[in-house]
Subunit: 398 residues, 2 copies
Amino acid sequence: MFYEMTSTIAGFRFAAVSAGIRKDGRVDVALAVADRPAVVAGLFTRNLVRAAPVLVAEDRVRSGLARAILVNAGCANACTGEAGLMAARESTEAVARALGIPVEEVLPASTGVIGVLLPAAKIAGKAKELAKSITPEGYADFAQAICTTDRWVKIAEAKIETSKGDPVSVLGIAKGAGMIHPDVGPPQATMLVFLFTDAVIKQEELQAALIQAADQTFNACSVDGDTSTNDSVIALASGASNIRLTAKEIAPALISVCDKLARSMIADGEGANHVAEIRATGLANDADARRVAQTMATSLLVKTALHGKDANWGRLLAAAGRAGVAFDPKLASIKIGEVEIVKNGLAVGAEAEKEAAEVLKGASYKIEIGLGSGPGAFSYLTSDIGHGYVDVNADYRS
Amino acid sequence: MFYEMTSTIAGFRFAAVSAGIRKDGRVDVALAVADRPAVVAGLFTRNLVRAAPVLVAEDRVRSGLARAILVNAGCANACTGEAGLMAARESTEAVARALGIPVEEVLPASTGVIGVLLPAAKIAGKAKELAKSITPEGYADFAQAICTTDRWVKIAEAKIETSKGDPVSVLGIAKGAGMIHPDVGPPQATMLVFLFTDAVIKQEELQAALIQAADQTFNACSVDGDTSTNDSVIALASGASNIRLTAKEIAPALISVCDKLARSMIADGEGANHVAEIRATGLANDADARRVAQTMATSLLVKTALHGKDANWGRLLAAAGRAGVAFDPKLASIKIGEVEIVKNGLAVGAEAEKEAAEVLKGASYKIEIGLGSGPGAFSYLTSDIGHGYVDVNADYRS
């Protein structure tokens, strides 16, 4: 999952420091800065319980322009009331001063334990150091600093070829391994995703492309079914390429980057060893197919069977059956990888299941469930759940 | 959780044998027989994928009368198509012949692995032995034979005092530890519940009381969020007491018995150490409160926190926030046992959390979340999820 960037992203600089928010002393505060005010689009958690940085960032994104993103790990600053809002404002204020820009142009984002107040003074104390140390190559440090239970950093990029000059770039940086069942929208893990592009693009075009990309990627993946109070997806466009793009032109690159980041998050699912892409087909419409795929992808019995590399199609079919979507079980077919194990609602046989179990040993594979001849289809990413998940989450706060 | 019955139940006899369906040789076929045709009511899984015994039993319950219930563990006979229906019919036919009663009066129920055809011949081979060995005291053997991953048998009883003579009895026997998120209704784990009463009662009165009881108990509890293809709740009334009861008169006893069985199932949740009753209050209506309580009770992050005895109220509140129900997080309060840890949306303090953590060491406790001043309230039973659950389910079929 290690990703080697081929280039920096024009118009952006990055830095990270250790401010002592995390107990283990690792880098925990990250800063991204655009050389000039950048066009911004954002999607935030639709959880009713929303962290202070989400409220502040969402408000500031409305202006359509932003210069910086200030992120901390080790503290979600969620369920912290007025004091939490103050802390988000104070920390961004300190960074804005150090950068010499208006505070409204600094977007906060936080991840970590819920219910703990952000220690704004610790960040303020590092503001000047952060502002001084930003470099185009700093994105790798940025990606490291925002990690919590992540086993690896998550960086992806895509290039958009145009007839107008050099390719336009999209760089994506994400964190997320647990409390991952994103539901971000206009206005919704803790998944944090930051996208940077040197395209020239209008705010509404960037926002439209971002909604489309999130819906197909982040909103279609799950580690544990729990939607965070802090999920944020923020895209900044520096315009440094001088090439103007529409939503339609930038969408494929955004989707490609978001898909890579979503796969990396799911692969990094707490304690997980496998990524399964569960695709439901043959339903009346895509919304029905999404419900079936999501119900299967969030079933604990399915996820523990995947952990056990067990081609337990009964659990797959039982999960589909409780999705609240109409289909005829007699028409059900299930393929694991290229191996068909269920046909017309019945087991194909022990040999097929043995072959399927071999597929399930892989790091990533596709499970396809056909439930009729309708046009509806949807793919959902999920991970297995095993002892590692219990280890991380039965003892997370201590 | 061991339960000592104080009496047998007038009008019913029970037996169990080992028919070699389970690999481990334990008793795996159970039979309950009413002395005369009994009034019957039944609720079956609302999962769209429904096992053969569910289809057969649901059909036979419609007549309003039944004589016997034939249950096997070790094989769910689900997703087995026409052959599965044949097997359910053949096995009940053999038992009907041995008892000298019509096959339509024998209700089948199965639990075990999905996708494996019921070995009807094994049951048929034991039909005479079963029919001969039924005794009033056999209910304990019956309760043992229907267990799968259960750590203990589940038996409960209640007495209804009337002015008309001796008390009327209700006896309940259940199994269930995993794939427990019942959704039974007219017409919906694998939870199997069998209720026996010596009351005289009309079929529609028994059915109405059963629906009411299931809605407050089985349909309000969860081990893993997975609704089974085989869930069945069947009530038989022998009339042996000669005392006539209405739905309203029998409901409290049914609710009491079903509540005890539901608590026993949740306590026996695969790998679980704790039973939490999560009560949501202050919502606009009971349906909203049910959604909030259910979302919290099925959150993997909540369930692993309970396993870790961690008063992680942030996860509780975050789960409530994604329930899709309107409330003001600023009004939220959370009590664990008698310890208030959140007030007006904010942490009460470290001391309170320490006290709450002590409560969480208990085998069972209440968690109450207040979300406003509305009249809506609902209680949902859940268990913790730990390593034991992964052990049982990542390797169940092998």
